[in-house]
Protein backbone atom coordinates (compact mmCIF):
# COMPACT_ATOMS: atom_id res chain seq x y z
CA UNK A 1 0.00 0.00 0.00
CA UNK A 2 2.77 2.42 0.99
CA UNK A 3 4.69 1.64 -2.18
CA UNK A 4 1.61 2.22 -4.29
CA UNK A 5 0.94 5.64 -2.73
CA UNK A 6 4.58 6.62 -3.17
CA UNK A 7 4.51 5.63 -6.83
CA UNK A 8 1.34 7.64 -7.49
CA UNK A 9 2.87 10.61 -5.69
CA UNK A 10 6.05 10.46 -7.78
CA UNK A 11 4.10 10.42 -11.06
CA UNK A 12 2.50 13.71 -10.06
CA UNK A 13 5.75 15.60 -9.50
CA UNK A 14 6.71 16.11 -13.16
CA UNK A 15 3.10 17.04 -13.94
CA UNK A 16 3.16 19.64 -11.18
CA UNK A 17 6.39 21.07 -12.59
CA UNK A 18 4.93 21.29 -16.08
CA UNK A 19 1.86 23.00 -14.62
CA UNK A 20 3.96 25.74 -13.03
CA UNK A 21 5.96 26.11 -16.24
CA UNK A 22 2.80 26.39 -18.35
CA UNK A 23 1.27 28.99 -16.04
CA UNK A 24 4.47 31.06 -16.01
CA UNK A 25 4.91 30.91 -19.79
CA UNK A 26 1.26 31.80 -20.45
CA UNK A 27 1.68 35.03 -18.53
CA UNK A 28 5.03 35.60 -20.21
CA UNK A 29 3.45 35.69 -23.68
CA UNK A 30 0.64 37.99 -22.51
CA UNK A 31 0.69 41.33 -24.32
CA UNK A 32 1.76 44.42 -22.41
CA UNK A 33 4.93 45.12 -20.47
CA UNK A 34 4.74 44.08 -16.83
CA UNK A 35 7.03 46.96 -15.88
CA UNK A 36 4.25 49.41 -16.75
CA UNK A 37 2.27 48.16 -13.75
CA UNK A 38 4.93 49.64 -11.46
CA UNK A 39 4.45 53.16 -12.76
CA UNK A 40 1.44 55.08 -11.55
CA UNK A 41 -0.64 56.49 -14.44
CA UNK A 42 -0.23 60.16 -13.48
CA UNK A 43 3.56 59.75 -13.38
CA UNK A 44 3.68 58.13 -16.80
CA UNK A 45 4.29 61.37 -18.73
CA UNK A 46 7.32 62.27 -16.56
CA UNK A 47 8.88 58.81 -16.91
CA UNK A 48 11.81 58.57 -19.32
CA UNK A 49 13.17 55.54 -21.10
CA UNK A 50 16.11 55.44 -18.64
CA UNK A 51 13.75 55.39 -15.66
CA UNK A 52 11.92 52.43 -17.12
CA UNK A 53 15.23 50.67 -17.76
CA UNK A 54 16.34 51.29 -14.15
CA UNK A 55 13.00 50.03 -12.85
CA UNK A 56 13.32 46.95 -15.04
CA UNK A 57 16.73 46.18 -13.55
CA UNK A 58 15.58 46.79 -9.99
CA UNK A 59 12.55 44.49 -10.32
CA UNK A 60 14.63 41.82 -12.05
CA UNK A 61 12.49 41.97 -15.20
CA UNK A 62 15.61 42.38 -17.38
CA UNK A 63 16.79 38.87 -16.60
CA UNK A 64 16.28 35.96 -19.00
CA UNK A 65 13.05 33.93 -18.92
CA UNK A 66 14.45 30.81 -17.30
CA UNK A 67 16.21 32.77 -14.54
CA UNK A 68 12.98 34.55 -13.67
CA UNK A 69 11.07 31.26 -13.79
CA UNK A 70 13.59 29.73 -11.36
CA UNK A 71 13.32 32.65 -8.94
CA UNK A 72 9.53 32.64 -9.17
CA UNK A 73 9.51 28.88 -8.49
CA UNK A 74 11.74 29.44 -5.49
CA UNK A 75 9.35 31.99 -4.02
CA UNK A 76 6.41 29.76 -4.89
CA UNK A 77 7.96 26.93 -2.88
CA UNK A 78 7.86 29.26 0.13
CA UNK A 79 4.18 29.99 -0.50
CA UNK A 80 4.83 33.46 -1.91
CA UNK A 81 2.46 34.22 -4.79
CA UNK A 82 3.26 37.92 -5.04
CA UNK A 83 0.96 40.93 -4.91
CA UNK A 84 -2.24 41.63 -6.81
CA UNK A 85 -1.91 44.44 -9.39
CA UNK A 86 -5.39 45.71 -8.60
CA UNK A 87 -6.21 44.95 -4.96
CA UNK A 88 -2.84 45.96 -3.41
CA UNK A 89 -3.05 42.84 -1.31
CA UNK A 90 -1.04 39.64 -1.19
CA UNK A 91 -2.37 37.02 -3.62
CA UNK A 92 -2.24 34.22 -1.03
CA UNK A 93 -4.34 36.30 1.39
CA UNK A 94 -6.88 37.04 -1.33
CA UNK A 95 -7.08 33.36 -2.23
CA UNK A 96 -7.50 32.23 1.37
CA UNK A 97 -10.24 34.81 1.97
CA UNK A 98 -12.20 33.74 -1.12
CA UNK A 99 -11.57 30.04 -0.65
CA UNK A 100 -13.42 30.27 2.69
CA UNK A 101 -16.58 31.10 0.74
CA UNK A 102 -16.03 28.70 -2.14
CA UNK A 103 -15.31 25.57 -0.12
CA UNK A 104 -18.75 25.43 1.56
CA UNK A 105 -20.42 25.97 -1.84
CA UNK A 106 -18.41 23.30 -3.68
CA UNK A 107 -18.46 20.99 -0.66
CA UNK A 108 -22.23 21.19 -0.32
CA UNK A 109 -22.71 20.61 -4.05
CA UNK A 110 -20.31 17.67 -4.02
CA UNK A 111 -22.09 16.15 -1.02
CA UNK A 112 -25.50 16.57 -2.66
CA UNK A 113 -24.10 14.88 -5.77
CA UNK A 114 -22.83 11.93 -3.74
CA UNK A 115 -25.88 11.47 -1.50
CA UNK A 116 -28.68 12.10 -4.01
CA UNK A 117 -26.85 10.74 -7.04
CA UNK A 118 -25.91 7.44 -5.43
CA UNK A 119 -29.22 6.84 -3.67
CA UNK A 120 -31.22 7.61 -6.81
CA UNK A 121 -28.87 5.38 -8.81
CA UNK A 122 -29.43 2.47 -6.42
CA UNK A 123 -33.15 3.16 -6.42
CA UNK A 124 -33.57 2.97 -10.20
CA UNK A 125 -30.90 0.28 -10.58
CA UNK A 126 -33.11 -2.02 -8.52
CA UNK A 127 -36.14 -1.14 -10.67
CA UNK A 128 -34.86 -1.46 -14.23
CA UNK A 129 -37.45 -0.67 -16.96
CA UNK A 130 -39.98 0.62 -14.41
CA UNK A 131 -41.70 3.99 -14.74
CA UNK A 132 -39.27 5.32 -12.14
CA UNK A 133 -36.33 4.10 -14.19
CA UNK A 134 -37.54 5.72 -17.40
CA UNK A 135 -38.46 9.06 -15.87
CA UNK A 136 -35.41 9.46 -13.62
CA UNK A 137 -32.94 8.22 -16.21
CA UNK A 138 -34.51 10.59 -18.74
CA UNK A 139 -34.23 13.44 -16.25
CA UNK A 140 -30.59 12.56 -15.62
CA UNK A 141 -29.91 12.93 -19.33
CA UNK A 142 -31.37 16.42 -19.14
CA UNK A 143 -29.30 17.12 -16.03
CA UNK A 144 -26.11 16.09 -17.82
CA UNK A 145 -26.83 18.49 -20.67
CA UNK A 146 -27.63 21.53 -18.53
CA UNK A 147 -24.58 23.74 -18.01
CA UNK A 148 -24.17 25.47 -14.66
CA UNK A 149 -25.04 28.92 -16.03
CA UNK A 150 -28.42 27.74 -17.31
CA UNK A 151 -29.27 25.66 -14.23
CA UNK A 152 -28.15 28.64 -12.13
CA UNK A 153 -30.32 31.16 -13.98
CA UNK A 154 -33.34 28.89 -14.19
CA UNK A 155 -32.99 27.94 -10.51
CA UNK A 156 -32.78 31.59 -9.53
CA UNK A 157 -35.77 32.48 -11.73
CA UNK A 158 -38.02 29.63 -10.60
CA UNK A 159 -37.18 29.16 -6.90
CA UNK A 160 -36.28 32.69 -5.96
CA UNK A 161 -38.05 35.12 -8.32
CA UNK A 162 -41.27 33.18 -9.01
CA UNK A 163 -41.73 31.03 -5.93
CA UNK A 164 -39.84 33.21 -3.47
CA UNK A 165 -38.53 30.23 -1.50
CA UNK A 166 -34.90 31.34 -1.46
CA UNK A 167 -33.02 34.65 -1.48
CA UNK A 168 -31.88 36.03 -4.85
CA UNK A 169 -28.17 35.65 -4.24
CA UNK A 170 -25.72 36.95 -1.69
CA UNK A 171 -24.18 34.99 1.15
CA UNK A 172 -26.16 36.38 4.08
CA UNK A 173 -29.01 38.77 4.76
CA UNK A 174 -27.69 42.32 4.61
CA UNK A 175 -27.75 43.91 8.06
CA UNK A 176 -29.31 40.75 9.43
CA UNK A 177 -27.93 38.26 11.88
CA UNK A 178 -24.96 36.17 10.82
CA UNK A 179 -26.34 32.92 12.15
CA UNK A 180 -25.60 29.51 10.69
CA UNK A 181 -29.23 29.14 9.68
CA UNK A 182 -29.13 32.30 7.59
CA UNK A 183 -25.91 31.16 5.88
CA UNK A 184 -27.40 27.75 5.10
CA UNK A 185 -30.58 29.40 3.79
CA UNK A 186 -28.44 31.35 1.31
CA UNK A 187 -26.36 28.30 0.45
CA UNK A 188 -29.10 25.85 -0.54
CA UNK A 189 -30.07 27.21 -3.96
CA UNK A 190 -26.57 27.94 -5.36
CA UNK A 191 -25.27 24.59 -4.12
CA UNK A 192 -28.27 22.69 -5.50
CA UNK A 193 -28.02 24.28 -8.95
CA UNK A 194 -24.27 23.58 -8.95
CA UNK A 195 -24.98 19.97 -7.98
CA UNK A 196 -27.40 19.24 -10.85
CA UNK A 197 -24.75 17.82 -13.14
CA UNK A 198 -23.04 15.84 -10.36
CA UNK A 199 -26.30 14.29 -9.23
CA UNK A 200 -27.19 13.30 -12.79
CA UNK A 201 -23.77 11.84 -13.54
CA UNK A 202 -23.39 9.94 -10.27
CA UNK A 203 -26.88 8.56 -10.67
CA UNK A 204 -26.22 7.25 -14.17
CA UNK A 205 -22.95 5.59 -13.19
CA UNK A 206 -24.46 4.11 -10.03
CA UNK A 207 -27.43 2.74 -11.96
CA UNK A 208 -25.14 1.16 -14.54
CA UNK A 209 -22.87 -0.31 -11.85
CA UNK A 210 -25.88 -1.76 -9.99
CA UNK A 211 -27.25 -3.39 -13.14
CA UNK A 212 -23.87 -4.93 -13.84
CA UNK A 213 -23.36 -6.25 -10.34
CA UNK A 214 -26.88 -7.67 -10.15
CA UNK A 215 -26.00 -9.95 -13.08
CA UNK A 216 -23.02 -11.47 -11.27
CA UNK A 217 -23.00 -15.08 -10.15
CA UNK A 218 -22.45 -14.20 -6.51
CA UNK A 219 -25.75 -12.35 -6.45
CA UNK A 220 -27.51 -15.43 -7.81
CA UNK A 221 -25.73 -17.48 -5.14
CA UNK A 222 -26.81 -15.06 -2.43
CA UNK A 223 -30.40 -15.20 -3.63
CA UNK A 224 -30.29 -18.98 -4.00
CA UNK A 225 -29.16 -19.53 -0.45
CA UNK A 226 -32.29 -17.70 0.65
CA UNK A 227 -30.82 -14.41 1.82
CA UNK A 228 -33.35 -11.65 2.39
CA UNK A 229 -33.60 -9.40 -0.72
CA UNK A 230 -32.66 -6.37 1.32
CA UNK A 231 -29.37 -7.95 2.34
CA UNK A 232 -28.68 -9.05 -1.23
CA UNK A 233 -29.41 -5.57 -2.59
CA UNK A 234 -27.61 -3.44 -0.07
CA UNK A 235 -24.88 -5.64 1.38
CA UNK A 236 -23.91 -7.67 -1.69
CA UNK A 237 -24.89 -5.55 -4.68
CA UNK A 238 -24.62 -1.92 -3.59
CA UNK A 239 -21.27 -2.26 -1.83
CA UNK A 240 -19.66 -3.73 -4.92
CA UNK A 241 -21.39 -1.32 -7.28
CA UNK A 242 -19.96 1.59 -5.30
CA UNK A 243 -16.39 0.69 -6.34
CA UNK A 244 -16.34 2.14 -9.87
CA UNK A 245 -18.43 5.10 -8.71
CA UNK A 246 -15.66 6.18 -6.29
CA UNK A 247 -13.55 7.15 -9.31
CA UNK A 248 -16.36 9.19 -10.86
CA UNK A 249 -17.07 10.98 -7.60
CA UNK A 250 -13.39 11.72 -7.02
CA UNK A 251 -12.74 13.03 -10.51
CA UNK A 252 -15.67 15.47 -10.53
CA UNK A 253 -13.63 18.35 -9.07
CA UNK A 254 -12.68 20.12 -12.35
CA UNK A 255 -16.34 20.17 -13.39
CA UNK A 256 -17.32 21.48 -9.98
CA UNK A 257 -14.73 24.27 -10.12
CA UNK A 258 -15.87 25.29 -13.61
CA UNK A 259 -19.49 25.31 -12.49
CA UNK A 260 -18.64 27.36 -9.42
CA UNK A 261 -17.32 30.20 -11.63
CA UNK A 262 -20.80 30.60 -13.15
CA UNK A 263 -22.81 29.95 -10.01
CA UNK A 264 -20.78 32.49 -8.03
CA UNK A 265 -21.35 35.09 -10.76
CA UNK A 266 -25.09 34.46 -10.87
CA UNK A 267 -25.64 34.38 -7.09
CA UNK A 268 -23.12 37.16 -6.23
CA UNK A 269 -21.10 34.74 -4.14
CA UNK A 270 -17.71 36.18 -3.20
CA UNK A 271 -15.65 33.07 -3.80
CA UNK A 272 -12.75 31.89 -5.95
CA UNK A 273 -14.84 32.06 -9.09
CA UNK A 274 -15.67 35.73 -8.75
CA UNK A 275 -12.12 36.54 -7.61
CA UNK A 276 -10.85 34.81 -10.73
CA UNK A 277 -13.34 36.45 -13.08
CA UNK A 278 -12.45 39.90 -11.75
CA UNK A 279 -8.76 39.10 -12.20
CA UNK A 280 -9.38 37.96 -15.78
CA UNK A 281 -11.34 41.05 -16.78
CA UNK A 282 -8.80 43.33 -15.02
CA UNK A 283 -5.79 41.42 -16.46
CA UNK A 284 -4.53 40.99 -12.88
CA UNK A 285 -1.82 38.47 -13.79
CA UNK A 286 -0.50 37.54 -10.31
CA UNK A 287 -4.02 36.62 -9.20
CA UNK A 288 -4.68 34.71 -12.45
CA UNK A 289 -1.47 32.72 -11.91
CA UNK A 290 -2.25 32.08 -8.26
CA UNK A 291 -5.81 30.87 -8.88
CA UNK A 292 -4.69 28.63 -11.76
CA UNK A 293 -2.01 27.06 -9.59
CA UNK A 294 -4.32 26.54 -6.63
CA UNK A 295 -6.97 24.87 -8.80
CA UNK A 296 -4.38 22.70 -10.56
CA UNK A 297 -2.95 21.56 -7.25
CA UNK A 298 -6.46 20.85 -5.95
CA UNK A 299 -7.26 18.74 -9.01
CA UNK A 300 -3.98 16.82 -8.76
CA UNK A 301 -4.63 16.26 -5.06
CA UNK A 302 -8.17 15.04 -5.71
CA UNK A 303 -6.91 12.63 -8.40
CA UNK A 304 -4.30 11.29 -6.00
CA UNK A 305 -6.81 10.85 -3.18
CA UNK A 306 -9.18 9.07 -5.58
CA UNK A 307 -6.43 6.65 -6.62
CA UNK A 308 -5.54 5.96 -3.00
CA UNK A 309 -9.16 5.56 -1.92
CA UNK A 310 -9.80 3.20 -4.80
CA UNK A 311 -6.77 1.08 -4.06
CA UNK A 312 -7.77 0.97 -0.40
CA UNK A 313 -11.22 -0.46 -1.12
CA UNK A 314 -10.23 -2.59 -4.11
CA UNK A 315 -6.86 -4.28 -3.49
CA UNK A 316 -6.82 -5.71 -7.01
CA UNK A 317 -5.57 -2.48 -8.59
CA UNK A 318 -2.40 -2.41 -6.53
CA UNK A 319 -1.05 -5.54 -8.20
CA UNK A 320 -1.43 -4.51 -11.78
CA UNK A 321 0.63 -1.80 -13.30
Amino acid sequence: MGGYILRRLLINIPVLFLVTFLVFSLIEIAPGDVVDYFISPDMMQYTTEEDIQRLRERTGLDQPFLVRYGKWLGRLAQGDLGYSFVESQRVDELIVAHMKNTLPLMGAAWLMGVVFGISLGVFVGLRQYSVWDFSLTGLSFLGLSVPAFISGILGLYIFSVRLGWFPAGGMRTAGGDSSLGDALYHLVLPAATLAVMDIARNMRYMRFAMLEVLNQDYITTARAKGLRPRLVHYRHAMRNALLPVITIVGLSLPQLVAGAVFIETIYSWRGMGSLYLNAVSGRDYPVIMGVNLVFAVMVLGANLLTDIAYSAVDPRVRFED
Binding site: I153, Q255, V280, A296
Partner: protein
Protein backbone atom coordinates in the same frame (compact mmCIF):
# COMPACT_ATOMS: atom_id res chain seq x y z
CA UNK B 1 -44.78 -13.14 -45.27
CA UNK B 2 -45.81 -15.32 -48.19
CA UNK B 3 -44.00 -13.03 -50.60
CA UNK B 4 -40.77 -13.82 -48.88
CA UNK B 5 -41.46 -17.50 -48.97
CA UNK B 6 -41.74 -17.95 -52.71
CA UNK B 7 -39.00 -16.53 -54.85
CA UNK B 8 -39.93 -13.90 -57.40
CA UNK B 9 -38.27 -15.83 -60.14
CA UNK B 10 -37.16 -19.36 -60.71
CA UNK B 11 -34.04 -18.45 -62.57
CA UNK B 12 -31.33 -19.64 -60.16
CA UNK B 13 -28.73 -17.07 -61.21
CA UNK B 14 -31.18 -14.24 -60.73
CA UNK B 15 -32.16 -15.50 -57.28
CA UNK B 16 -28.54 -15.49 -56.20
CA UNK B 17 -28.17 -11.97 -57.52
CA UNK B 18 -31.26 -10.71 -55.71
CA UNK B 19 -30.19 -12.36 -52.48
CA UNK B 20 -26.72 -10.89 -52.72
CA UNK B 21 -28.18 -7.44 -53.30
CA UNK B 22 -30.43 -7.84 -50.29
CA UNK B 23 -27.69 -9.01 -47.99
CA UNK B 24 -24.83 -6.66 -48.78
CA UNK B 25 -25.22 -3.45 -46.87
CA UNK B 26 -22.50 -0.90 -46.53
CA UNK B 27 -21.43 -0.12 -42.95
CA UNK B 28 -23.13 3.27 -43.31
CA UNK B 29 -26.41 1.59 -44.24
CA UNK B 30 -26.16 -0.74 -41.27
CA UNK B 31 -25.42 2.15 -38.95
CA UNK B 32 -28.32 4.20 -40.36
CA UNK B 33 -30.73 1.27 -40.01
CA UNK B 34 -29.70 0.78 -36.39
CA UNK B 35 -29.74 4.51 -35.68
CA UNK B 36 -33.34 4.77 -36.93
CA UNK B 37 -34.46 2.26 -34.32
CA UNK B 38 -33.46 4.76 -31.62
CA UNK B 39 -36.61 6.85 -31.73
CA UNK B 40 -35.37 9.62 -29.45
CA UNK B 41 -32.14 9.98 -31.43
CA UNK B 42 -34.07 10.17 -34.69
CA UNK B 43 -36.41 12.87 -33.36
CA UNK B 44 -33.40 14.75 -32.00
CA UNK B 45 -31.73 14.60 -35.40
CA UNK B 46 -34.83 16.09 -37.05
CA UNK B 47 -35.05 18.89 -34.46
CA UNK B 48 -31.35 19.54 -34.93
CA UNK B 49 -31.70 19.80 -38.69
CA UNK B 50 -34.56 22.29 -38.23
CA UNK B 51 -32.44 24.39 -35.85
CA UNK B 52 -29.49 24.31 -38.23
CA UNK B 53 -31.61 25.31 -41.22
CA UNK B 54 -33.16 28.19 -39.26
CA UNK B 55 -29.72 29.38 -38.22
CA UNK B 56 -28.15 29.01 -41.65
CA UNK B 57 -31.06 30.71 -43.43
CA UNK B 58 -31.75 33.19 -40.65
CA UNK B 59 -32.50 36.17 -42.98
CA UNK B 60 -35.39 34.21 -44.51
CA UNK B 61 -37.13 33.82 -41.17
CA UNK B 62 -37.24 37.43 -40.07
CA UNK B 63 -37.90 40.93 -41.36
CA UNK B 64 -35.51 42.56 -38.93
CA UNK B 65 -31.80 43.10 -38.74
CA UNK B 66 -30.27 41.56 -35.57
CA UNK B 67 -28.28 44.71 -34.75
CA UNK B 68 -30.79 47.35 -35.80
CA UNK B 69 -31.85 49.40 -32.81
CA UNK B 70 -35.20 51.06 -32.60
CA UNK B 71 -35.40 53.34 -29.61
CA UNK B 72 -39.16 53.64 -29.95
CA UNK B 73 -39.57 49.86 -29.48
CA UNK B 74 -37.43 49.37 -26.38
CA UNK B 75 -38.08 46.42 -24.02
CA UNK B 76 -41.36 45.37 -25.60
CA UNK B 77 -42.83 42.13 -24.38
CA UNK B 78 -43.62 39.48 -27.02
CA UNK B 79 -46.35 40.58 -29.45
CA UNK B 80 -47.48 40.09 -33.04
CA UNK B 81 -44.80 42.38 -34.44
CA UNK B 82 -41.94 41.11 -32.30
CA UNK B 83 -42.59 37.42 -31.54
CA UNK B 84 -40.00 37.25 -28.76
CA UNK B 85 -40.22 40.94 -27.82
CA UNK B 86 -37.33 43.38 -27.99
CA UNK B 87 -34.34 44.11 -25.77
CA UNK B 88 -33.40 47.30 -23.96
CA UNK B 89 -32.05 48.78 -27.21
CA UNK B 90 -35.14 47.88 -29.22
CA UNK B 91 -33.55 45.00 -31.13
CA UNK B 92 -35.87 42.15 -32.13
CA UNK B 93 -35.20 39.16 -29.85
CA UNK B 94 -36.50 36.51 -32.27
CA UNK B 95 -34.05 37.79 -34.88
CA UNK B 96 -31.20 37.89 -32.39
CA UNK B 97 -31.96 34.36 -31.23
CA UNK B 98 -31.87 32.80 -34.71
CA UNK B 99 -28.85 34.87 -35.76
CA UNK B 100 -27.23 33.89 -32.44
CA UNK B 101 -27.68 30.26 -33.41
CA UNK B 102 -25.52 30.89 -36.45
CA UNK B 103 -22.53 31.89 -34.35
CA UNK B 104 -23.12 29.30 -31.66
CA UNK B 105 -23.36 26.42 -34.16
CA UNK B 106 -20.45 27.77 -36.18
CA UNK B 107 -18.25 27.88 -33.09
CA UNK B 108 -19.42 24.43 -32.03
CA UNK B 109 -18.63 22.80 -35.37
CA UNK B 110 -15.35 24.61 -36.02
CA UNK B 111 -13.98 24.09 -32.51
CA UNK B 112 -14.97 20.42 -32.53
CA UNK B 113 -13.23 19.98 -35.88
CA UNK B 114 -10.02 21.55 -34.56
CA UNK B 115 -9.98 19.55 -31.34
CA UNK B 116 -10.74 16.33 -33.21
CA UNK B 117 -7.93 16.84 -35.74
CA UNK B 118 -5.41 17.61 -32.99
CA UNK B 119 -6.73 14.79 -30.81
CA UNK B 120 -6.58 12.20 -33.60
CA UNK B 121 -3.07 13.14 -34.70
CA UNK B 122 -1.62 13.20 -31.19
CA UNK B 123 -3.56 10.11 -30.09
CA UNK B 124 -2.57 8.11 -33.18
CA UNK B 125 1.11 9.01 -32.93
CA UNK B 126 1.11 8.39 -29.19
CA UNK B 127 -0.65 5.04 -29.37
CA UNK B 128 1.09 3.75 -32.49
CA UNK B 129 4.68 4.61 -31.64
CA UNK B 130 4.52 4.33 -27.85
CA UNK B 131 7.73 4.72 -25.82
CA UNK B 132 9.18 8.20 -25.33
CA UNK B 133 6.87 10.11 -27.67
CA UNK B 134 3.86 8.49 -25.99
CA UNK B 135 5.15 9.47 -22.57
CA UNK B 136 5.74 13.08 -23.62
CA UNK B 137 2.31 13.46 -25.25
CA UNK B 138 0.56 11.82 -22.32
CA UNK B 139 2.26 14.09 -19.77
CA UNK B 140 1.21 17.15 -21.80
CA UNK B 141 -2.33 15.77 -21.88
CA UNK B 142 -2.21 15.30 -18.10
CA UNK B 143 -1.07 18.88 -17.63
CA UNK B 144 -3.84 20.36 -19.81
CA UNK B 145 -6.43 18.20 -18.06
CA UNK B 146 -5.23 19.37 -14.66
CA UNK B 147 -6.81 22.77 -15.26
CA UNK B 148 -10.60 22.97 -14.97
CA UNK B 149 -11.72 23.65 -18.58
CA UNK B 150 -13.38 27.04 -18.20
CA UNK B 151 -10.52 28.31 -16.00
CA UNK B 152 -7.82 27.68 -18.59
CA UNK B 153 -10.07 29.00 -21.37
CA UNK B 154 -10.64 32.24 -19.47
CA UNK B 155 -6.91 32.56 -18.83
CA UNK B 156 -6.07 32.18 -22.51
CA UNK B 157 -8.94 34.53 -23.46
CA UNK B 158 -7.54 37.14 -21.07
CA UNK B 159 -4.12 36.85 -22.73
CA UNK B 160 -5.01 36.30 -26.38
CA UNK B 161 -8.13 38.45 -26.46
CA UNK B 162 -11.73 37.63 -27.34
CA UNK B 163 -13.65 37.56 -30.63
CA UNK B 164 -14.97 34.84 -32.94
CA UNK B 165 -11.68 33.43 -34.28
CA UNK B 166 -10.00 33.46 -30.89
CA UNK B 167 -12.94 31.78 -29.20
CA UNK B 168 -12.93 28.99 -31.82
CA UNK B 169 -9.17 28.53 -31.47
CA UNK B 170 -9.28 28.60 -27.67
CA UNK B 171 -12.08 26.05 -27.36
CA UNK B 172 -10.70 23.81 -30.11
CA UNK B 173 -7.15 24.15 -28.85
CA UNK B 174 -7.99 23.11 -25.30
CA UNK B 175 -10.55 20.35 -25.72
CA UNK B 176 -8.33 17.80 -27.50
CA UNK B 177 -7.00 15.83 -24.48
CA UNK B 178 -10.20 13.78 -24.17
CA UNK B 179 -10.05 12.84 -27.87
CA UNK B 180 -6.31 12.11 -27.65
CA UNK B 181 -6.85 9.66 -24.80
CA UNK B 182 -9.66 7.91 -26.61
CA UNK B 183 -7.76 7.57 -29.89
CA UNK B 184 -4.54 6.54 -28.16
CA UNK B 185 -6.31 3.73 -26.34
CA UNK B 186 -7.77 2.45 -29.62
CA UNK B 187 -4.41 2.54 -31.41
CA UNK B 188 -2.71 0.80 -28.49
CA UNK B 189 -5.01 -2.19 -28.76
CA UNK B 190 -5.33 -2.22 -32.57
CA UNK B 191 -1.65 -1.95 -33.44
CA UNK B 192 -0.98 -5.51 -32.25
CA UNK B 193 -3.66 -7.08 -34.43
CA UNK B 194 -2.90 -9.27 -37.43
CA UNK B 195 -4.07 -6.83 -40.08
CA UNK B 196 -1.55 -4.27 -38.91
CA UNK B 197 1.17 -6.92 -38.88
CA UNK B 198 0.14 -7.87 -42.43
CA UNK B 199 0.34 -4.25 -43.57
CA UNK B 200 3.78 -3.93 -42.00
CA UNK B 201 4.99 -7.14 -43.62
CA UNK B 202 3.99 -5.69 -46.98
CA UNK B 203 6.35 -2.84 -46.21
CA UNK B 204 3.77 -0.07 -46.08
CA UNK B 205 4.95 3.20 -44.57
CA UNK B 206 3.77 4.04 -41.06
CA UNK B 207 1.52 6.92 -42.06
CA UNK B 208 -0.46 4.72 -44.44
CA UNK B 209 -0.94 2.11 -41.72
CA UNK B 210 -1.98 4.85 -39.29
CA UNK B 211 -4.34 6.63 -41.66
CA UNK B 212 -5.72 3.94 -43.97
CA UNK B 213 -5.59 0.77 -41.92
CA UNK B 214 -6.13 1.68 -38.29
CA UNK B 215 -8.08 4.95 -38.47
CA UNK B 216 -11.23 3.46 -40.08
CA UNK B 217 -11.42 1.06 -37.12
CA UNK B 218 -11.39 3.99 -34.71
CA UNK B 219 -14.19 5.84 -36.52
CA UNK B 220 -17.05 4.28 -34.51
CA UNK B 221 -16.08 5.56 -31.05
CA UNK B 222 -14.65 8.71 -32.64
CA UNK B 223 -17.96 9.73 -34.26
CA UNK B 224 -19.79 9.74 -30.93
CA UNK B 225 -16.89 11.67 -29.42
CA UNK B 226 -17.14 14.29 -32.19
CA UNK B 227 -20.83 14.91 -31.50
CA UNK B 228 -20.14 15.33 -27.79
CA UNK B 229 -17.27 17.67 -28.69
CA UNK B 230 -19.70 19.84 -30.66
CA UNK B 231 -22.12 20.16 -27.75
CA UNK B 232 -19.25 20.81 -25.32
CA UNK B 233 -17.92 23.54 -27.62
CA UNK B 234 -21.35 25.18 -27.93
CA UNK B 235 -21.60 25.24 -24.14
CA UNK B 236 -18.06 26.57 -23.79
CA UNK B 237 -18.78 29.44 -26.18
CA UNK B 238 -22.04 30.19 -24.40
CA UNK B 239 -20.23 30.11 -21.06
CA UNK B 240 -17.40 32.40 -22.18
CA UNK B 241 -19.79 34.86 -23.81
CA UNK B 242 -22.08 34.74 -20.76
CA UNK B 243 -19.12 35.84 -18.64
CA UNK B 244 -18.30 38.60 -21.12
CA UNK B 245 -15.06 36.92 -22.23
CA UNK B 246 -16.30 35.35 -25.45
CA UNK B 247 -17.81 36.96 -28.50
CA UNK B 248 -18.39 40.65 -27.84
CA UNK B 249 -21.64 42.52 -28.47
CA UNK B 250 -23.34 43.57 -30.69
CA UNK B 251 -22.85 40.23 -32.54
CA UNK B 252 -25.56 38.03 -31.03
CA UNK B 253 -24.73 34.57 -29.70
CA UNK B 254 -26.84 32.48 -27.35
CA UNK B 255 -24.24 33.04 -24.65
CA UNK B 256 -24.11 36.80 -24.78
CA UNK B 257 -27.92 37.02 -25.07
CA UNK B 258 -28.11 35.08 -21.81
CA UNK B 259 -25.74 37.60 -20.30
CA UNK B 260 -28.87 39.80 -20.02
CA UNK B 261 -30.02 37.53 -17.20
CA UNK B 262 -27.13 38.69 -15.03
CA UNK B 263 -29.16 41.81 -14.37
CA UNK B 264 -31.75 40.99 -11.74
CA UNK B 265 -34.40 43.33 -13.16
CA UNK B 266 -34.20 41.65 -16.57
CA UNK B 267 -34.14 38.20 -15.00
CA UNK B 268 -37.18 39.08 -12.93
CA UNK B 269 -39.41 41.15 -15.20
CA UNK B 270 -38.24 40.56 -18.77
CA UNK B 271 -37.75 36.82 -19.19
CA UNK B 272 -38.18 37.12 -22.99
CA UNK B 273 -34.75 38.74 -23.12
CA UNK B 274 -32.91 35.61 -21.97
CA UNK B 275 -35.20 32.60 -21.92
CA UNK B 276 -35.36 31.92 -25.70
CA UNK B 277 -31.55 31.75 -25.85
CA UNK B 278 -31.43 29.47 -22.81
CA UNK B 279 -34.06 27.16 -24.28
CA UNK B 280 -32.36 27.17 -27.69
CA UNK B 281 -28.99 26.26 -26.14
CA UNK B 282 -30.52 23.56 -23.99
CA UNK B 283 -32.54 22.04 -26.85
CA UNK B 284 -29.57 22.03 -29.21
CA UNK B 285 -27.19 20.47 -26.69
CA UNK B 286 -29.75 17.90 -25.60
CA UNK B 287 -30.45 16.92 -29.22
CA UNK B 288 -26.76 16.63 -30.07
CA UNK B 289 -26.19 14.45 -27.02
CA UNK B 290 -29.12 12.19 -27.94
CA UNK B 291 -27.80 11.89 -31.49
CA UNK B 292 -24.36 11.07 -30.09
CA UNK B 293 -25.87 8.40 -27.88
CA UNK B 294 -27.76 6.93 -30.82
CA UNK B 295 -24.60 6.99 -32.96
CA UNK B 296 -22.59 5.25 -30.27
CA UNK B 297 -25.12 2.44 -30.09
CA UNK B 298 -25.54 2.25 -33.87
CA UNK B 299 -21.82 2.08 -34.56
CA UNK B 300 -20.96 -0.29 -31.74
CA UNK B 301 -19.65 -3.42 -33.50
CA UNK B 302 -20.22 -5.47 -30.33
CA UNK B 303 -23.96 -5.24 -30.81
CA UNK B 304 -25.81 -7.86 -32.77
CA UNK B 305 -26.92 -6.51 -36.14
Amino acid sequence: MSEQMKPLTNNAAQVVQIEAKARIETPTQIAWRRFKRHRLALISLIVLVIIMVMAAAAPLFTRYDPNEMSLRDRALSPNGEHWFGTDNLGRDMWTRTIYGGRISLQVGLAAALISTVIGVILGAVSGYYGRLIDMVIMRITDVVMTFPPIIIMLTVAAIAGTGLTNVILIIGGLRWPATTRLVRGQYLSLKNQEFVLAARTMGLPDWIIIMRHILPNVMAPLMANVTFAVSAAILAEAGLSFLGMGIPLPTPTWGNIMENARSLTILQDKPWMWMPAAIATLTTVLCINFVGDGLRDALDPQQIM
